[in-house]
Structure formats: structure tokens, C-alpha cells
């Protein structure tokens, strides 16, 4: 920038063309203050705070690869005769959607790579969201004032889940049609209104000729837009609240200890984006995913054994599979079996998850603000409960693959299903008990939990003392110099 400087004596304001352009906007919009505040934002340096970023970058990659796929995909259910380059299906009648997915796989340059990258990114997106939610749950990061962000985050999870299922169902191959059929069965199992909702969603009986087009609008427009809006809210609230941090290193409820967005954290975040993109590109190039050409076009009369959903839907599939064969009649209305595992279980699951910050506040009586995180061992009951819930849904997820596991390990499918029925009750209880004991033992080994919300012994300068209001100031005691991480100040790390 200084290369364009003229030898004139220094004058007020910027001397370069770029500088003057910046000054023009700054004088009118006040951008410098916003930029400085944003670039000065402090991020605690702890690996688990980057889990959500993996999800964020996966979403960016999903949008990018999705735009490429949308250029070639046809969301139509009209019957066409395949004449592409995959010989074993030449001359077979199929839907336009399936044909265009085959073309993407065999006849569009780099099409299969982008299809596979999109699909791997979706699987990683869901995995990263769940691991991020686990971090938030086990460290108590959902407590006041972050309840709203917990609710938004959970909504993002549900939207991502729905969009994953919609994407899986779009291709109209035998596997996706089977999944859609199960989804349809769960919807129409809702008492009283199920059949009506089902024919509203599918435009009549399954499969109808509308569902692929509807799912496509949802998949590429409505749900991504909702995700983008909620994501923006999620991050804005995160900045507004400032970051939480773990106890130690001078962390208190009224400060944030970490590194600034610029330059250190920018480098780290960009680096992590490229790591995420690199891992997904490697998986897309090296590991085959969803070989739809082997599954064939969807035919309502066909089904293949071992038809599973993508992993994050596995717990619902498993719930349908382990549920005993009960149907109930209430006032003459029959409640079909898929209702229990396919509707009631997710309904209860997500209701409890949405309400959890308030449930816990009521149970613990703790309604104070918290910015310093709990270590999981210091909240043994919450940790034990969380582990039990995770074990429960993991067992259900394995139940969703019960036939594959039975064949792979030479087990009797019937015996295995009974083992899973017992396991999904016994294992969560056992793991909760073990987790509780482990937490207690770790506490004994550690001595008392580090005090939170109070000055750490010796005192340290709160983070962001030069960066606006990152540190809320009730800090008259100057600590012994500064923590090494906090040596950054504007003179040394100028904001451009």
C-alpha cells in the first residue's frame, strides 16, 4: 500500500488511492469501527471450540458443490429411457431425476466427484453438528445467557437433518425411494391426521408424481435459506455474547481469554477451512459413496436387503426395527406401529432437547449468567445423563443396521434384535452409572473444582483490554504484567 505513496509532506487522512476509497466509505458508514471490533474479537484457544467451525465449513462446501450439482440435476418424475454411458442400465425406463443423477455420475465432467463430495460433506456436516452440540451440552455452554443460541443451534440441527433426508431422497434410486417410503409410512401413522398430512406432503398416495419436485425446492432453496438465516443469527448472538471459555488461564465470567481474530485466529480459521475442504475432497476422490447405478431406478414393487438411511437417520430406522410389534386402539382409532419409533420418539427427543436449558435451570436452581464453562467431571449428573442419552441413540443407530451387523458377524438376526431391545434400556443405565462414578473419581483426584466467576490466584489481565468492551472492566487490580497470550496490542498487531 505504501508503494503508491507520493513524496508529498504528510497530510491528514490516507494518502493512497485505496486508503482514500476506504476513507470515503468510513466517513459515510463508519465501517472502521465495526471492522476493528470484529477483527479484535477474542477467540479462546481450545480445540473443542472449533467443532462448530467444521460444521460451518462443511455447510459452505455443501453450498458450493450443491450449486454445481443443481446445474445438471433434473427434479422430474416423468418416465424416460436411459441412453447414457452406463451399459447395464441402457434402455431401462426410469425417472428423469434418476437419469440426470446417472448422467452426473458418468457423463458430466467431474460430476461424480462433486456428487461424492456433496454427500461426504453432508455426512460430516451432521457429525460435526452433533459433536459440537455434545461440547455445548457437556460444558454447560447452553446456560444463561445462551439459551436462545441453544434453541437456534438445535433448529439448525433439525434443518440440516431434514435437508440431508431430502437430498438422499431426491435421486429416485431404489435406496432413496425405500427411505422415502418409510418416511411416508411414519407420517401416515400419526393418529387422526396422518393420512391427511401424508397426502398433503406427497400430493396424494405414495409415491405420486409431485414429491421429487417438492423435495427439490425444499432441498436447494427453502431449507438452505433458513439454515443461512439461522446461522447468521447463531453467529451474531455468539459475537454479542462473547465466547465462553474453560476455567484456568485467568478465565472469569467477565472476560474472554484468547487470541484476536486478526491476525492469529484468521490464519487458524482459514487453515481449518482448507483442512476441511481437503479432507472432504480426498474422501470424494478416494471413497465411493452411494453408488446409485447399482441400486437401479426406484420401483415401488422392489426393495433390496440392507436398505439403510444415511447414518444420522439410523436411530429412527433402528427405533422402527427394535420396537415390539404393538398396535394400540384408542377410542376405536388404531395407532399404527411406526408411530412409536417414527413420530413419538423424535417428538419427545426434540421437545426435551429444546427445553433442556430451562429444565436444567429448574433442577439445579442456578439461573445466573455463566461464561466460564463447566468441566464435565464437575457436573457428574448432567454428564452421566448426556452419556446415557448418547448411548441410547447409538444403540438405536446400530439397530438400524441390525441385518448388516448380523450377517457380518454371523449372528441370528432375531437374537440380535432382542439383544438390542435389552441393550437400549440396560446400556444407557449402566453407562450413566459408570460415567457418574468416573466423574466423582476424577474430582477426588483433582481436588476441588477451579473457582469460576472469581479472580484466579495471582490475577491476570482480562482479554481484549485494548479491543473495545471484550472485558467488562470490573478489574481494577493490575495483575503481574500480562499473560503471554495477552501481549498483543494494537501497536504490534495493527488493524489494516
Amino acid at each position: 500500500m505504501t508503494g503508491a505513496a507520493t513524496p508529498e509532506p504528510p497530510v491528514e487522512g490516507p494518502r493512497t488511492r485505496l486508503g482514500r476509497l476506504g476513507d470515503f466509505f468510513d466517513k459515510r458508514l463508519g465501517l472502521a469501527r465495526l471492522a476493528r471490533a470484529a477483527l479484535d474479537k477474542i477467540f479462546p484457544d481450545q480445540w473443542s471450540f472449533l467443532l462448530g467451525e467444521i460444521a460451518l465449513y462443511s455447510f459452505v462446501i455443501l453450498v458450493g458443490t450443491g450449486i454445481f450439482l443443481a446445474l445438471f440435476f433434473t427434479a422430474g418424475q416423468t418416465t424416460v429411457t436411459y441412453d447414457g454411458s452406463y451399459a447395464p442400465l441402457q434402455g431401462v425406463e426410469m425417472s428423469a431425476a434418476y437419469q440426470s443423477a446417472l448422467d452426473l455420475s458418468f457423463d458430466v465432467r467431474a460430476g461424480l466427484f462433486f456428487r461424492q463430495m456433496h454427500h461426504w460433506a453432508a455426512l460430516i456436516f451432521m457429525a460435526a453438528i452433533i459433536v459440537h452440540m455434545m461440547r455445548v451440552f457437556f460444558t454447560g455452554a447452553f446456560r444463561r445467557p445462551r439459551e436462545i443460541n441453544w434453541v437456534i443451534g438445535l433448529s439448525l440441527f433439525l434443518l440440516a437433518f431434514a435437508n440431508g433426508f431430502a437430498g438422499y431422497s431426491l435421486l429416485d434410486d431404489q435406496l432413496s425411494g425405500t427411505g422415502l417410503r418409510i418416511g411416508n409410512a411414519a407420517v401416515i401413522s400419526i393418529p387422526l391426521v396422518g393420512t391427511w398430512i401424508g397426502s398433503f406432503l406427497f400430493g396424494g398416495d405414495f409415491p405420486g408424481d409431485a414429491i421429487i419436485g417438492r423435495l427439490y425446492s425444499l432441498h436447494i432453496l427453502v431449507i438452505p435459506l433458513l439454515i443461512a438465516v439461522l446461522l447468521a443469527a447463531h453467529l451474531t448472538i455468539l459475537i454479542r455474547h462473547k465466547h465462553t471459555h474453560f476455567p484456568g488461564k485467568g478465565a472469569r465470567d467477565d472476560n474472554v481469554v484468547g487470541q484476536r481474530l486478526w491476525p492469529t485466529y484468521t490464519a487458524k480459521a482459514l487453515g481449518l477451512f482448507f483442512i476441511t475442504a481437503g479432507v472432504l475432497a480426498l474422501m470424494a476422490g478416494l471413497l465411493q459413496i452411494n453408488p446409485i447405478w447399482l441400486y437401479g431406478p426406484f420401483d415401488i414393487a422392489n426393495v433390496s436387503s440392507a436398505s439403510q438411511p444415511d447414518w444420522y437417520v439410523g436411530w429412527l430406522e433402528g427405533a422402527l426395527r427394535v420396537m415390539p410389534n404393538w398396535t394400540l386402539s384408542i377410542f376405536g382409532y388404531e395407532i399404527p406401529n411406526p408411530f412409536w419409533g417414527g413420530v413419538l420418539l423424535p417428538g419427545v427427543t426434540f421437545s426435551i432437547l429444546y427445553a433442556w436449558p430451562w429444565i436444567e435451570a429448574r433442577l439445579s436452581g442456578d439461573r445466573r449468567e455463566h461464561h466460564v464453562l463447566d468441566r464435565p467431571r464437575d457436573r457428574p449428573l448432567r454428564t452421566a445423563l448426556g452419556v446415557a442419552v448418547l448411548v441410547f441413540y447409538t444403540v438405536l443407530g446400530l439397530a438400524g443396521a441390525d441385518d448388516v451387523i448380523a450377517v457380518a458377524f454371523g449372528l441370528s438376526l432375531n437374537a440380535w434384535v432382542w439383544a438390542l431391545r435389552v441393550g437400549c434400556i440396560v446400556l444407557p443405565i449402566a453407562s450413566a452409572f459408570i460415567t457418574f462414578r468416573v466423574c466423582k473419581e476424577l474430582q477426588l483426584r483433582d481436588g476441588p473444582a477451579p473457582a469460576t466467576g472469581q479472580r484466579a490466584p495471582g490475577g491476570v489481565t482480562p482479554a481484549g483490554d485494548a479491543g473495545g468492551d471484550e472485558a467488562a472492566s470490573s478489574d481494577p487490580v493490575p495483575g503481574p504484567a500480562v499473560e503471554p497470550l495477552e501481549r498483543l496490542d494494537e501497536a504490534k498487531t495493527p488493524v489494516p
Binding site: 484457544d45 431404489q174 465411493q288 459413496i289 437401479g296 426393495v303 457380518a408 438376526l413 432375531n414 498483543l488
Partner: protein, 271 residues
């Protein structure tokens, strides 16, 4: 450091689990060509061969199938099996049975080819049914075979022919190692839980087409990288966690590693 070691151990054990999941039971048996089958058909009514088969049968089979193949408490009657059933059961090694199990597993053929031919001739003679399908996969139609396979075979054997679970410890075996002739015989005979797909269901041309498609599935024109066993979303999900998430977790540990903290501190101090 110890946390890094535990990451490595976790990754390693997870990979082992994934490897075990990928392993599916395969079958192996001698491959019969159409001319072998025709040669066998020609000697099925040879009295000498039948007599040789009877003497073998009386040594090796009577204890379960009874004197004369009428069956006993320990094994079913063979009076209606005919040449197809006998050839299938003996050549896939399913008979003789090593121990009583819900489903006879395939294993290496127990008798020599000549002894097997003789036993087939004897059992065929019991039923007066000497018909043997002659599978000529090359004469089949790949596309037709694919359509018939997905509609009739994939429900148990899976669209990738890797096999699948049935109830009470039985399973539809993987077809990826099974020679074409035995697939044709299984369709005509219907061993175990498998339905009989007789000539009134599938013509010989349709049978040949299905076998041709299964032969194709043994080594499909399969772009996209390592196939992960063609088991579908189950192995894909394991791969997403064990390979993808593991790599990314290592990535965020690396990005936030102490190594970098020290280096950034040093640069800042030096300024």
C-alpha cells in the same frame, strides 16, 4: 502427549472395527463350464455310475438321509431333489454337513469330481429327475438380467449381491464368489429358504441373463474410488466418522496445538 497417544489408539481400534465390518462371508467352489454340465448329464443314466453312487451314498449319506434316501429324523428325504439339487448341494460343499446348523454353509467340495458325479447320478435316479440347467452366462442379456435381479434377487441377496440377513440365524449368502452354474442350479432347485424359480418363472435366457448380471456385479464398472464393500450407508457412515471426523479432529487439535501458540508468542515478543 498421553492424549495424543489415546487419539492414536482410538483411531486404530476404530479402523479395526471398520475392517471387521467390511469382511463378508464369501463362498468358493469349483467352476463348472457348460461342457462339463453336458458331460455330466450324459452319464446320469449310466447304470454303472448310478451303482457307484449308491455305494458311496450308503457309506456317506445314509446316516441322515436314510437307506434309499427316504429321509430320517436327522435329514430330509431326497426322493424329489433330482440331479439339480444334488449337484448344487454337493458341489457347493453344503453336503455333507459338518454339524447340525440352521443353514448348511458352503465349503470346499468334499468328494472328488468323479465321486460327486456318481452321487448326483444316484440321487437323480431316486427321483427319476435327471434335468440339469446348463448356464451359459455369455448368452444372457446384461440389462434384462439387471432388471430381473433387482426385482427378484436383491430383496434377499442385496442389490450388490453381497448377501443379506434372514430370520433365525439364516442368511442369503453373498453371490460374489459363486460360480454361474451354481447360481442357475440354486434358482431351479431353491435350496433352504430360497424360492424355486422354475422354467415357468424364468426361461433359460432369463436365467442366463441374471447370472450374467451377477457375474458383472463380481467386478462392476464402478467409478468413485474404494467401494467400502458396497454395503451402502452403514459403511459410509462408519467411514464418515472413522476417517472423516477423525481426520478433522486431528486437524483442529493441530490448528490449536501448543506448538503454534509458542511460535506466535515468540513472534509477538520479538516485534
Amino acid at each position: 502427549m498421553s492424549s495424543r497417544r489415546s487419539w492414536a489408539v482410538g483411531l486404530l481400534s476404530a479402523s479395526v472395527v471398520a475392517g471387521v465390518v467390511l469382511v463378508l462371508v464369501g463362498t468358493a467352489a469349483g467352476d463348472q463350464q457348460p461342457e462339463d454340465v453336458r458331460a455330466l448329464s450324459d452319464k446320469l443314466d449310466d447304470p454303472e455310475v448310478i451303482a457307484q453312487g449308491r455305494s458311496l451314498f450308503e457309506r456317506a449319506c445314509v446316516s441322515c438321509h436314510g437307506d434309499g434316501g427316504q429321509g430320517s429324523d436327522f435329514g430330509p428325504s431326497l426322493l424329489s431333489d433330482g440331479a439339480t439339487g444334488a449337484d448344487f448341494m454337493l458341489r457347493t460343499g453344503r453336503m455333507p454337513l459338518a454339524s447340525p446348523v440352521p443353514q448348511a454353509p458352503s465349503k470346499p467340495q468334499a468328494f472328488s469330481d468323479e465321486e460327486t458325479d456318481a452321487l448326483v447320478a444316484y440321487v437323480a435316479d431316486l427321483a427319476e429327475d435327471r434335468a440339469l440347467p446348463v448356464v451359459e452366462a455369455a448368452a444372457g442379456d446384461l440389462v434384462l438380467g439387471g432388471e430381473l435381479f433387482r426385482a427378484n434377487c436383491a430383496p434377499c441377496h442385496n442389490a450388490s449381491a453381497i448377501g443379506g440377513a434372514l430370520s433365525f440365524g439364516q442368511h442369503a449368502p453373498s453371490l460374489l464368489e459363486v460360480p454361474g452354474q451354481q447360481i442357475g442350479e440354486a434358482m431351479r432347485f431353491g435350496p433352504g429358504e430360497m424360492p424355486v424359480f422354475g422354467e415357468d418363472v424364468f426361461s433359460d435366457h432369463e436365467m442366463n441373463s441374471i447370472v450374467r448380471y451377477v457375474d458383472y456385479l463380481k467386478d462392476p464398472d464402478d467409478p468413485g474410488g474404494l467401494s467400502l464393500g458396497r454395503i451402502g450407508p452403514v459403511t459410509e457412515g462408519f467411514a464418515a466418522w472413522i476417517i472423516g471426523m477423525a481426520a478433522l479432529l486431528i486437524g483442529i487439535r493441530w490448528v490449536t496445538a501448543k506448538l503454534w501458540q509458542r511460535r506466535t508468542e515468540e513472534t509477538e515478543v520479538g516485534v
